[in-house]
Structure formats: structure tokens, C-alpha cells
């Protein structure tokens, strides 16, 4: 069971209060009609799915009901940080493109 710090409630709470919502920082294309089917598919379905550091969204479903971001190691499950929507992560992988 993970212990997760909600950046809005500012409390450590148990995993069961939260639900994971997938990769964070995915930007919806501003002009969907101008991009190819491949690019649209990439936005909809293709994911980084890294083994290692991962920025992902969580929903504090049984708490404040707000989405926030977390940086978590997907191999060790260690949560490095949680941060509010719109903020940039402080912990990032060195390699360009690996997040």
C-alpha cells in the first residue's frame, strides 16, 4: 500500500483514497484538425510507460477530489514528490526525453 501526500490537502494518506489517472503533462493538440491521424493517435493512446522515473496524475478520489501530479519510480514504487496541477516537477531524469 502506497502512502501518498496530497499537495492540496497537505496530508499523507493511504493509497485507497486515491485513484491513478495515468501519464501526466500530456498536452491536447491545439488544432486537432491540422494534425495527422498518427499524431492524433499518439496523443490519444501512445504512452511513455517508462521503467524508472515517471510523472503521473492521481485523483484524490475520497478526499478533496482534485487531480495532482506525482513523480514516482515505477520499478521501486518510491514516490519522489507530489505537486499541484500546472506546476513543473522538481525531480526529473537526466536523460533528455526520459521522464
Amino acid at each position: 500500500m502506497l502512502l501518498i501526500h496530497c499537495p492540496y490537502c497537505e496530508e499523507m494518506r493511504e493509497e485507497e483514497e486515491f485513484s491513478p489517472a495515468g501519464q501526466a503533462h500530456i498536452e491536447r493538440p491545439l488544432q486537432p484538425e491540422d494534425i495527422s491521424d498518427e499524431q492524433w493517435a499518439h496523443y490519444l493512446f501512445f504512452r511513455k510507460n517508462p521503467r524508472g522515473l515517471h510523472h503521473e496524475m492521481w485523483l484524490h478520489a475520497a478526499g478533496c477530489r482534485k487531480y495532482f501530479n506525482a513523480t514516482r519510480n515505477t520499478a521501486t514504487y518510491e514516490i519522489m514528490e507530489t505537486y499541484k496541477m500546472g506546476q513543473a516537477p522538481r525531480v526529473t531524469a537526466n536523460e533528455e526525453g526520459q521522464s
Binding site: M1, P20, D37, W40, L44, R47, P50, T74, A75, T76
Partner: protein
């Protein structure tokens, strides 16, 4: 290859079983292979076997970073069935089930394939409508299936709580009699032994660290035992598919999740079929050894840790006890997790890629075990002919941009 038989067993007993041939060899890597398969689980080994047997390609290496069949092949709940909803998926799984039916003879290896049937319970009116629709679809596709009433289910599984007092009363079930279970390790070992006999090199403790390319075509793989040149590279790495794809700068429409399962202490025979329930979220069968094999749903977060969270185990056990109050005092022996690569449409990817000579078989998510022979068979065809097998064609990676998704969440979501 040494043939196994009852007579052989008797003969070897006279020499205290000390003279059995090694089941497969442990070769040193060659400099070049026609096909390199990344991943020595059931699917990878089956692919190698069918490439050698049906397509005459025997200069093959199966590269496995751990040991053969040590990943999801060793971690699943061993259920085999083909009662999927959509034509594309049900044809693929039925192809696999038909291969299962003759596989033990073909491989000369006891796979303990037991067609004990699978029940998918319905607990709501909508469940029952979905079940009727799925069974009718199955029948139209030539797959056996029946809709059972509560009384029929109760007769089949007397220990199932079919009373109206249950929190989610059983309203009926779908029944596929040809479905069942198989011994998971034996499938990997049987394919490994048969592939080895056909000249396939099984390279264990060999980890792929990179894929070398030139002019948009693969040249070979970098491993911890040096560079291995290859005409074609086939990735069958399940939960680690995205890691391999990243080596060539590709992203896949996959997310890797932990999927947990558990077994109880061994009991006397009490459950002679497989019972699944999507609604209360659990499934159970009893192995030949006597332990109850119980499967959970995936953990919601992505993870490569081969373990999940305890609350998922708790939810699963609650579901099993809801269905089978008689199991409430059974003790669990072990629980574990595997990494499953889930696709947005709960269907696999069996596909060529934009890189010449690179193929992917991945995205089986929670239900890859049942497809082991079928997936290996159609993937081998795809690799050998460099064009998709007719059954594999709908499972191309292009479907995500063309929009031709095959939504099997209903039949594959929880139960598998």
C-alpha cells in the same frame, strides 16, 4: 529429442532416474541468427517453435534476461478459454484453443491441459444480457457456449453461494465447456524442449541492452554477452515491451501494470471447474495439487516491480468469500505479481513496425497465457512471411491511428 512415455518412465526407474537427457541445451551465442526473439516466455518460445517447425527457419535465438518462463508464464492463473465477444478476438483465441487441444501430443510433453470448463457469472440484468449476447456471438463464430440458469450453476458448483441472500445474487452464467486450465510452466518447458530439438538456441541470462539499426532496418541486438547480428528481431517481452521499444525510439500504446494472483494451501478436491465473476471482481479454480488459484484485477498505477498493493489482494479475497463463503477459513500460501502490458482496447498487438525486420507481439494485458500457442503460431507466420497472418492482421499497431480498435474490455476486463 528423447521421447517421453510410460515405458520410458519405467525404464529409467531401473537406473534411479539418473540418466535422463537434459531437457534443453545451454549454448553459447552464435555471431549471427536469422531471427532473434527477445523474451523467453511462453509466447517467445512458441514463436521459435512454430518458426522452426512450420517455416523451416531454425537459425533462431531466444534471448531471455532471466530464465525461461520466469515472467508472466510463471505468474498467471492458467486459465484457457476463447469466449471473447468480437469476431477478430474470438477467432484468434479459438485458433489458440484448437492448438491447445492437440498440443501435449505434438510436443510430447504433459501440459496437464484440463478442459474443465469456465463459468462466467452474471449478477445483474445487464450482466445476463451481455452474457447472452456474448454466447450468441461465440456460437455464430463456431465457439461452444451456453447460457446457464442459476439452478444449473448451483448444480454444477454446489459450494457457490447462489442464494438470494447474497449481496450480488447469481442470476446465471455463461459456460464454455471446452475451456479449462493448463500447467503454466509445462507450456514453456514443452515449447522450449521442442524448439531446442529443432535447433533453436535458448540463451538464458542474456539481457538485450540495445537494438542496432542501419538505414531503417535492424542489424542485431546488443546484449550483456556481446553483439548478436540478426536478420529479424521479434520482441515478445510482455510487460517490458515499452522498454525495448524505447531502445529504437518508439512509443507503444501500452501501460505496464502489476497484476496479482495468489494460491491457498492445498485442499482436497472441491472445485472442478473455473469460476469467474467480472461483477464481484474475482476468479478461482483449483489446481491438480489442490490449491485454490485466485486472480485479482490489475493495480491501477503503472509499475515494473512485479508486486502490487495489498488493498487489491484484500478486495479480491472479499470477492471470493462473497461467492464462496465456505473458503473463509482457507489460508493463503503465496501471493505474487506480474507485469502486464495493457492496451487501450484490451486486445494485443501482433505487428510489423516502421523499422524493417522488427516485429512486436505485446499488449496481451491480463490474458496472454491462454493465447500462448495461437499467438506463437500467427506471430511466427508474420515474421517468416514479413506479412501479417490473416488472424493477426486486425491486431496491427496501425489500428490505433485508423480507429479500428477491437474493444474487448467486456470479455477481457477482469476475468481471463
Amino acid at each position: 529429442m528423447q521421447q517421453y512415455s510410460g515405458f520410458g518412465l519405467l525404464k529409467h526407474s531401473l537406473s534411479y532416474h539418473e540418466n535422463w537427457q537434459r531437457v534443453w541445451s545451454n549454448p553459447t551465442p552464435k555471431k549471427h541468427y536469422d531471427v532473434v526473439i527477445i523474451g523467453g516466455g511462453g509466447h517467445g518460445l512458441a514463436t521459435a517453435y512454430y518458426l522452426a517447425k512450420e517455416h523451416g527457419i531454425t537459425n533462431i535465438a531466444v534471448i531471455e534476461k532471466g530464465y525461461l518462463g520466469g515472467g508472466n508464464t510463471a505468474r498467471n492463473t492458467t486459465i484457457v478459454r476463447s469466449n471473447y465477444l468480437w469476431d477478430e478476438a474470438s477467432h484468434l483465441y479459438e485458433h489458440s484453443l484448437k492448438l491447445w487441444e492437440g498440443l501435449a501430443q505434438e510436443l510430447n510433453y504433459n501440459l496437464m491441459f484440463s478442459q474443465r470448463g469456465v463459468l462466467n457469472l452474471g449478477h445483474t440484468l445487464q450482466d445476463m444480457r451481455d452474457i447472452e449476447r456474448r454466447v450468441n456471438a461465440n456460437r455464430l463464430n463456431g465457439i461452444d457456449g451456453e447460457v446457464l440458469t442459476t439452478a444449473q450453476v448451483q448444480e454444477m458448483v454446489p459450494i457457490l453461494d447462489c442464494s438470494t441472500n447474497a449481496r450480488y445474487p447469481v442470476m446465471g452464467a455463461s459456460w464454455q465447456a471446452r475451456a479449462g486450465t493448463a500447467r503454466h510452466d509445462a507450456v514453456a518447458w514443452g515449447f522450449a524442449r521442442a524448439a531446442d530439438a529443432l535447433g533453436v538456441d535458448l540463451l538464458q541470462q542474456t539481457e538485450v541492452t540495445g537494438i542496432r539499426r542501419k538505414d531503417g532496418a535492424v542489424e542485431g541486438v546488443e546484449t550483456n554477452r556481446g553483439f548478436i547480428s540478426a536478420g529479424k528481431v521479434a520482441c515478445v517481452a510482455a510487460g517490458n515491451s515499452s522498454v525495448i521499444a524505447k531502445m529504437v525510439g518508439m512509443e507503444l500504446p501500452l501501460e505496464s501494470h502489476p497484476l496479482q494472483a495468489m494460491v491457498s494451501e492445498p485442499l482436497k478436491p472441491i472445485l472442478d471447474t473455473v469460476v469467474m465473476s467480472n461483477h464481484v471482481h474475482g476468479y478461482v479454480s483449483q489446481s491438480d495439487k489442490g490449491d485454490l488459484v485466485i486472480g485479482a484485477g490489475i493495480d491501477g498505477y503503472t509499475g515494473y516491480g512485479q508486486r502490487g498493493s495489498f488493498n487489491v489482494v484484500e478486495h479480491t479475497i472479499a470477492a471470493i468469500i462473497e461467492m464462496f463463503p465456505i473458503f473463509s477459513r482457507v489460508r493463503l500460501n503465496r501471493a505474487w505479481g506480474g507485469i502486464v502490458d495493457t492496451c487501450p482496447d484490451a486486445c494485443p498487438i501482433i505487428s510489423k513496425t516502421h523499422i524493417k525486420g522488427l516485429y512486436f507481439n505485446c499488449g496481451w494485458g491480463t490474458g496472454g497465457f491462454k493465447a500462448t500457442p495461437g499467438a506463437g503460431h500467427v506471430f511466427a507466420h508474420t515474421i517468416a512471411k514479413d506479412e501479417p497472418h490473416p488472424l493477426a492482421k486486425p491486431f496491427s499497431i496501425d489500428r490505433f491511428s485508423s480507429g479500428e480498435l477491437i474493444d474487448e474490455h467486456g470479455a477481457a476486463g477482469v476475468a481471463h
